[in-house]
Amino acid sequence: MFSFIDREQFLLYHCTRLLNATQLQLGRKQMAKIILKGRFAFAISMWFLTLMCGAQEPPYFVTYSHSLEEPGNLEIASKGAAGSPKYANPFVSQTLELEYGATAWWTTEVYLAGQHTSNDSTIFTGFRWENRFRPLLREHFINPVLYVEYEHLTLADKGLLEVTGHDSIANFQLTNAQARRELERSLEMKLILSTNTHGWNISENFITEKDLNEPEPWEFGYALGVSRPFALAARSQSCVFCRENFSGGLELYGGLGTTDGFGLKATSHYLGPIIGFNVPRGPTITFSPNIGLNDNSIGVLYRFTVSYEIQQVFGFLHRGGR
């Protein structure tokens, strides 16, 4: 079994040999630059790998549980969604999430969102800044978490990190050029209620959103999730593809109209099974095919997330990498 240093030396040796073979085609200076850059990138990736750990969070995409980020830890996640809406071009959206545990009762996150639409363009759609607080400092049967988020997104955002109001398939039928003209600055609040019992997590989110640009009514939405690890006790041996590293669940979310028209009319809803794989000392990979439950929803929305948790990120920097 190689240690990280051994692996690095081994790979560097072979990469250098491969690059030497092409040295005749490129100048020596250029080659030296490439090797230096490669070594730097490799060292950075090795540093990240040594800091990584598996997060112990339910594998939801839209629903939040009362699990907050551990203080001092930074989770970097890439959240993707791909779909092919009716009468619109297929799209893939990517959201980069940076989640930091400020304290044991407060987690703060920044999202950077973008999307690519076939036969159209690839654009950056905006950012979100989110904060979650645990008002009760002990564990109860139902644990509330307060969520406040500021969104600065164009109408072209297709991340679908929540569904509120009368969000529907019509939003996807606009071209990127049309949709990005309309910038929405909004405030979103959620009441998160969550329970951990007998290995199961059951979470309910009640969502409300207010557009700060225009005098529009408050929008409402919901998200429900249930999940469980495939094994509750860990095995004594190290293993990658064992049941304890997998978790599964089910997620249901959708809009509930606005203050002007509360209810299910002209809203979209999705239901999907989820599977999560927590690679030991590596990333957590989550996948879910979400099925649209009515004509206002996208038929099937494929969601995938890859997340890395870097433990005590600032402490590591303070200690100078020791």
């Binding site: 750990c53 598996g54 112990q56 969070e57 339910p58 549980s65 699990s67 907050l68 551990e70 203080p71 001092g72 830890n73 545990g101 304290t103 044991a104 009762w105 645990r134 400092l137 002990r138 564990e139 951990n196 007998h198 290995g199 997590n201 690890p229 509750l232 006790a233 860990a234 095995r235 004594s236 041996q237 190290s238 304890e244 030991p280 000392r281 433990q311 005590q312 402490g315």
Partner: protein
């Protein structure tokens, strides 16, 4: 006479001094006792570890400990500058039920997160491992336990 009073104040003065000393001693004693232990309900305190003494559980617990606990408490569980050691007599002599309560609830005010998302059997495995580490004399502790 006035000088004598200054040198030998009244009995009320000595009563106040004694009270202050007694309360300080109590406060020092309380500081030795981890604050979170005082909040553990009796029912939780009496819970026993179903994996106690099982070598497989200790091995599984060490794996889980490495994943979730080492960055704060260190690979040897001796803590760091600001994070407490788990090998102090207070932690090692605490009952399994008390530590289980702490893992479930955390001590959010002092930076210890709740680990209720880890399934119960896995939390018991972590406790089996922590208890297997044994005490380390106070002089070698890197940080006092809260």
């Amino acid at each position: 006479m006035r000088a004598a009073r200054l040198l030998f104040p009244t009995s009320t003065f000595w009563a106040w001094i004694s009270c202050a000393l007694i309360f300080s001693a109590m406060a020092v004693g309380a500081a030795d006792y981890p604050a979170w232990l005082r909040h553990v309900p009796d029912a939780d305190r009496k819970r026993t570890n179903p994996y106690a003494g099982q070598s497989d559980a200790v091995a599984a617990g060490s794996k889980l400990f490495a994943d979730h606990c080492t960055k704060c408490h260190g690979a040897d569980a001796l803590g760091s500058r600001k994070k407490p050691s788990l090998r102090t007599p207070e932690v090692q002599k605490a009952s399994d039920g008390e530590i289980f309560w702490l893992l479930r609830n955390g001590d959010l005010r002092h930076g210890m997160p709740s680990w209720s998302a880890i399934p119960e059997p896995s939390r018991w495995q972590i406790i089996a491992y922590v208890k297997s580490l044994g005490e380390v004399p106070a002089t070698t502790h890197q940080a006092p336990s809260k």
